[in-house]
Structure formats: structure tokens, C-alpha cells
Amino acid sequence: MNMIRLIAWREYMENVKTKGFWAGILIFPIIFTAMYFLQTTLSNATPTRYYVFIDQSGEYSQAVETAIEREHQRRIFGEFVDYLLENRKEVDLDLSAAGQNNAADQLIDSADADEVAALEQWLANGGLDFALTMATPALREDREPFELPPRQFIAAGLPADIDASAAPEEIARALRPYLRGERKLIVDSEAIDLFALILIPANVNEDISRPGVMPQTGVGPTGIQYWARNLTDSRLPDAIINSINLEIRNREYIGLGVDNQIVRNVQRTRMPISQLDPSAAEGEEEVSMADTFRQLAPIGFVYLMFISLMQSVQYLLSNTIEEKSNRIIEVLLASVTAGELMMGKLLGIGMSGLTTIAVWLLSFFLFITLYQSSQTELIGQILEVILGSELIPWFVFYYFAGYALYSGVFLAIGSLCNTLKEAQAMMMPMILIQVIPLAMMVFVVRDPDNTIVRALSWFPLFTPYLMMNRAAADPPLIDVVGTTVLLLLSIVFVIWLSGKVFRMGVLRTGQPPKLMELLRLLRQGS
């Protein structure tokens, strides 16, 4: 036991002391953080788009302007909520507690509950100025002033030489060079690229399609013409077409003699739906957001397990091969038994794996504590739910079981190979096997007691992944007990077998044996 501890400790310390180990660990949170900030900055950094809007029908310009203004206000609103979260006085993670006594928290809460309604209210109250006045008492004194996000879409005037009342084809032809980027528009004596042209022909109303009426099939484009080279940024055409549809529907109602206001009210009526969980105690059946997270959490655990196992196994393999290729193994085997050496390595590398997970969780935790915004707040809540759930013991069990099972196999592979290259060829099937439960992750969470899933859970190499995956859905007792027994038995078997292979393999030189040769060698014993 002493020897195992000594070997494990050296194995662990040697790992932890290398720069590569820390680089490998930290790259994950660094990439995560970088991706997060990159995404935020990228969405803020989208350049202002200039568009030319020509309404020859003269009926929709008001609606379109409103729509674009509304889109802008929605952005201000969103950023303002983030600003409040970053700068309010007391940091109170538990939002449902009695912290609703100031305007800032009320705003945050309403934004969480129903964004559309909150935006309506924001607009009705007078937008940013009002909100800023209301929220000021609740904000820290040392805060930075709120920065208004730049407008994303700005209407530009037509170049002077183009007649807005010309035929649509002519206007389009004249603006083509601008839309292609060959010519620049001048806005406020600055040359800019024209992003899009929205052209509403004079007779556009003839193209309105109604149920039961066959649309006219004419030549050329029908309805509103949206000209733009960029096809992926659909925010502008979406905003415009939604606002125009809203407008024409309003007109239809008026034409039919229906009160507009009534329609709007009717459209906002809705039936709530309560999700209830029959397995919960009476009176607590109502499914909360936390419960949903809890059911989705296994995906995260399975993923974490996979990454961490793969990393550990890599160390195990390269370590064993190092010892084998420079023959340290012989000295070791003259000092300790193959079994002690193997167990020591398994434990040492296992500790490295745990260190990795601990560092990840810690950096994740630091990230959400140090950097607060509406998204990280959500992540924090999810994390709290997950860490508080009974999934943790499951994860710990399946992590260790999975580690014991897979590392046993990989250690045996390492002992048979002299170079990492040889080992990689033999590793391939083992990695592919793990891809199967991984690919099923999302499906399993949705349908945890599916017959195929249940059957596959009994395959020991899948058990840690699939049963972890199903853990939140309280799988049938027979599955839990049965697969666990089978898993433990196969761990014992694999460790025993790889001990034999290890003992035989570590002193082998030359090519790794073929499968049949390996079986023959095992039968002969070492």
C-alpha cells in the first residue's frame, strides 16, 4: 500500500509540475472565457448598417420607422438591464428573494419574466431617461456612466442624381454600384457603404396575398423589394416585413369594421401552462426552471466525464510508454510488483484528472462571480442547482468507475506499445466506442427509458456514460442495480486482465502483438 501511494504521489507530482499539464488544464477555461467575450464584443461590434428606404406607395414609411426604432430601443433596454446587474449596490444572487424593493430590481425581474411586455412598458414610460432616473438610487456611486449602444440601422438619403419617383427597375439599376460597394454614399459628409435598399413600389398593395385568393403570377419581383448583398444578416428585412404585415393587418381590421384595440388585446390573451412533476412530493409538483436544468445537467456531466477521462488516459498512456521505452520499468519491477505499479499509476493519474476538474470548476466559478451580467447570472443559477442536486454522487461514482474501466484498458495498451504512434493506432477503437454514448447524449435526456437506451446501458463500456446521462430521470431500480453490478464486475475483470497484459507487456520489446498472439500469450501466462 505504501508503495502504491509513493508511486501515485510521484506520478501526480511529476504531472502537476509540468507546464504542459497546466497549459492543458487552463486552455479550456481560457477558451471558454475568450469565446464568451468574443461573442459579446462581436455582437456589439457589428458595424452600423446604412439603408435606403423608398416608399413609392407612401403608406408604410411610418410603420417601418417605428419598427426600426423599436428594435433599437430593445437593444438599449437589454444593455441597460446588463448595466443594472453590473452596477447595482447589493449583489443578491437569489432573485426570487425579497429584493424587489427598488426600481432596478423590478426592471430586471420584469425583463426576466416577459420581455415583450417589459419593452412595452419601457417605451410607454419614456425609455432610457426615465429608467435611469428611477434606477439611480439603487446603483453604486462609483459606476461608469451608461453607454448608449450605437444604432445598428440608419436610413440614408438617396444620392442627388437619383429620382425617388422613378420606376423601381431604374432606381435599382442606379443604386446597384452602391449596393455592390463600388460607390460610396455620402452621409453627413462621410463616405459609407450602402447595406440595403428597401423599395416599396407604388402599386404594392395589389400584391398582398390573402387566404383563398390565388396570388397574381406576374413577371419580375412582387411586393416589397429588399436589395442587399449580405443574405445572412436578416434583422433588417425581418423588422421591416413584420412591421408592414402588422400595418396591413390593422388596415384589414379597420376595413372590416373591427376595433383595432380590441384585436390587439385579444392577441395578447393567452393560457398559461403549468408543468407538473408526478414524482415530486405533494404540493411541490410544480416544475420550476431549476428542475429543467436538473434534467439537462447530465449532458454537462457526461461531457465533462468524457473530456477528463480522455485527458487522464492520455497521460497514462504517454507515461507508461516513457517508462517502457527508456526501460525504467525494469528497475521499477525489481522494486515493486506489477500490480502495485499499475495501481499506483492509476491512482496518480486519477488524482491529476480530479485536479483538472477542480481547476475547471474553480475557474468557472471565479468567472461567474467576478464577471456579472444577465447571462453569467443565469449560468450561476444553473450551477447552483446542479451542485445542489443529488446528481453529484452519481457523477462521482460513474466518474471513478469510468476511469477505472477505461484506464485499465488504456494502461494495457500502453504496456504493449513502445511508441506513442503505435499506441494511437490501438487507441482508436476505444475512442470510437465512447463516441456512441456521446452522440446519444441529447436524445437520452429526452427519452431516458427508451428500450434501446436501456439495453445499451448494460454494456459496461457504455454504462458510466449512459447511466450518468439517465441519472436525473430516476431510472428503474433494476437498471441501476444491474448495470452497477455488471460495471463493478467488469472493472475487476479489466483490472485483473490488464494487470496480466501489463506484466507481460512492459518487458516486451518490438512490435505490439496481434490480437491472436496476445490471447495466446495470455493463455500461457507470464
Partner: protein, 328 residues
């Protein structure tokens, strides 16, 4: 009862620290070691000699129970398996290798601890050895920064740091420069005078000749010779070379002279006198021949007597085998 068994055990160890009886090892069709028996007395320096591929390393691995013999039995330090007494054995394998990223002193400490030393004592011992054998300046260096020879010295130290009763060194001299070879020889004699038993394998006869009390000569897996160095030399008939124009045959009356033959004169001699080779027995002192020559009035232009070297013995006993291997 207990005392009695302990005593008998000690006795057994005294007479023989390691005993191999009819040990063989086969790998498939290939026989690496074939029916080797030997017995090594406590406190001796024992050399395993043999050409490349003779089975030295396999024998050593079997002694250490790294591989199990296909047949025969081994008794080491009074136990059937080296695994039971592995803390009392030190081992340097043929192919040298160390953890590259470890510091030199920590590495020696680690291997000593694997042999059951406690942490503090192991550290002290590591520093002591490094200082004693001229590596103190490298104690804090990483192993990967050492030269090959230096690394090998470190490995030898890590193999013997726990002061084992039995030290087994597989080709300890290969790759060392002459200065470090003599440092290693010094280490080996130090250990022997400390009461430790040292077994080492080599194919360089000079080391064996300088150090060993006993040698084992194997070739192609078979034991060819096992005994003291002087016994080994006795396997080659001792000879005296004479150059004389007189009748040398008269010397054959001396007890201990086996035969006298005239050597082919290839014109090597300046005097053109005939050369004679006289084989003599172990007991006969060559001085007696010289004295007899005076008494019998045989005038000599040359008298030559040299003890056969272990090299001669080696070539004599395994020469054909070694050559065969060399050309394979």
C-alpha cells in the same frame, strides 16, 4: 524454534546468497538460458561473463523474478522469490533509463524509497552518495541535462542507495569513460568491503579480472565455466616460452612439465635460435624451470612466462561462439 530456523537461514545465507539450480528460460522455440546452475557466496564480487546474446540479462531477470524461469529453481537470500526480499536487492538494468524531468537527488531518493527507505534517510543518502562520487554539483539538475555517462552514474547510485545486501549490475561499465569506470570499480569494491555481495555482467574482461572473486562464463545460454578467477585461468594450460640453441627436451624430467614442443620459427627471432613451448602444471613454479636451465647448462636467449589473462580464457573457452555471433 524460531531462533533455530533463523539460525539455519543465516547459515544458508552465509554459505550461499544466491543459488540457481538447472534454470532454463525458453521463448517459444528460442532457448535463452539452458540448464544453468550456480551458487554465489556471500560477500563476493561475482562476474557474469559472456559474449553478446549469451543469456546474461535473461539470467539476471530471472534472478530478480522479472521473468519467471521455464524450468529449474532459484533461491535468493534464503527465499524462493526475489519479490519477497526485493528491498534487500539493488538492480541496475542493462538498458539505462531514468525519469528525465526529475531532479537528480529526488530521483535517487525516490528509488531508495521504493526500496523501503524512509523519506528523510533516503534524501540524506542521496546527497551523501552524490557528494562521495563526485556528482554533488549536479544534485539539483534535471536528469535530462546530464550526459549519458553521468546519467549512468546516477542510475548506479539510485540502484544501490538503499545499501542492499545483494547488488546486481547489468553491464555497469558500458558507456563510461576510463575515469568513471575506475570510480565505479571503486564503488563496487567499497560495497564488497562493506559486506555486500555484488554481481555484475560485462563482456570487458579487464574489469572482471580486476574485481571478481568468482566468475560465471556463459555462451549461447549454457554455462561454460563457474569458479574463481584463478580456476578459470587454470583452464588454459600455463606455458613457458624458451629460446635456446641447446637441447631443451632435457627439461621434461622436471615434475610438472607436461610437454615440450618446438615452435615454428617464422623468422621472428633475431638470433634465429629455435623457440620452445613448455606446458606446465599449476603447481610448478616457472622459476624452477629457470633454475633447472642453469643447472643443466642450457643457455637461454629468451625466457618468457606470462599468466594467462581472463581475456585469453574467454577467447579460449567461448572464442568460436563469440565469433559466430559477431558475424550473424
Amino acid at each position: 524454534m524460531r531462533t533455530a530456523s533463523l539460525e539455519s537461514q543465516t547459515e544458508a545465507e552465509n554459505s550461499s546468497i544466491l543459488r540457481l539450480e538447472h534454470v532454463s528460460k525458453t521463448y517459444g522455440d528460442f532457448t535463452a538460458v539452458n540448464d544453468v546452475s550456480l551458487s554465489i557466496p556471500k560477500g563476493s564480487i561475482y562476474g557474469f561473463l559472456g559474449p553478446n546474446g549469451a543469456g546474461k540479462t535473461t539470467t539476471i531477470r530471472m534472478i530478480l523474478e522479472i521473468v519467471r524461469p521455464s524450468a529449474g529453481s532459484i533461491s535468493i537470500l534464503g527465499h524462493a522469490s526475489a519479490l519477497d526480499v526485493r528491498n534487500r536487492i539493488g538492480y541496475l538494468p542493462e538498458e539505462k533509463g531514468l525519469y528525465k524531468k526529475m531532479k537528480v537527488w529526488a530521483l535517487i531518493q525516490y528509488f531508495a524509497m521504493l526500496k523501503g527507505m524512509n523519506k528523510k534517510a533516503a534524501k540524506q543518502q542521496a546527497w551523501h552518495l552524490l557528494e562521495k562520487y563526485g556528482l554533488k554539483d549536479f544534485a539539483e539538475a534535471k536528469v535530462e541535462s546530464l550526459s549519458k555517462g553521468m546519467g549512468q552514474k546516477v542510475q548506479v547510485l539510485s540502484a544501490v542507495a538503499h545499501e542492499p545486501e545483494l547488488v546486481i549490475l547489468d553491464e555497469p561499465f558500458s558507456g563510461l569513460d576510463p575515469v568513471n569506470q575506475s570510480v565505479l570499480e571503486e564503488l563496487i569494491t567499497d560495497m564488497a568491503s562493506n559486506g555486500q555481495t555484488v554481481i555484475f555482467s560485462t563482456h570487458v574482461m579487464q574489469h572482471a579480472e580486476r574485481l571478481c572473486d568468482h566468475i560465471l562464463l556463459i555462451a549461447k545460454g549454457r554455462k561454460i565455466f563457474d569458479g574463481t578467477v584463478s580456476q578459470a585461468k587454470a583452464t588454459i594450460p600455463r606455458r613457458v616460452i624458451l629460446e635456446s640453441i641447446d637441447d631443451v627436451q632435457r627439461l621434461s624430467t622436471i615434475a610438472g612439465v607436461a610437454d615440450i614442443t618446438k615452435l615454428d620459427a617464422d623468422g621472428a627471432s633475431a638470433t634465429n635460435a629455435p623457440q620452445w613451448q613448455i606446458h606446465i602444471s599449476e603447481k610448478l613454479n616457472p622459476q624452477d624451470i629457470l633454475r633447472s636451465c642453469f643447472e643443466l647448462n642450457i643457455s637461454l636467449s629468451r625466457f618468457e612466462f606470462t599468466e594467462p589473462s581472463l581475456h585469453d580464457v574467454f577467447v579460449h573457452l567461448v572464442g568460436d561462439e563469440a565469433r559466430e555471433h559477431a558475424f550473424r
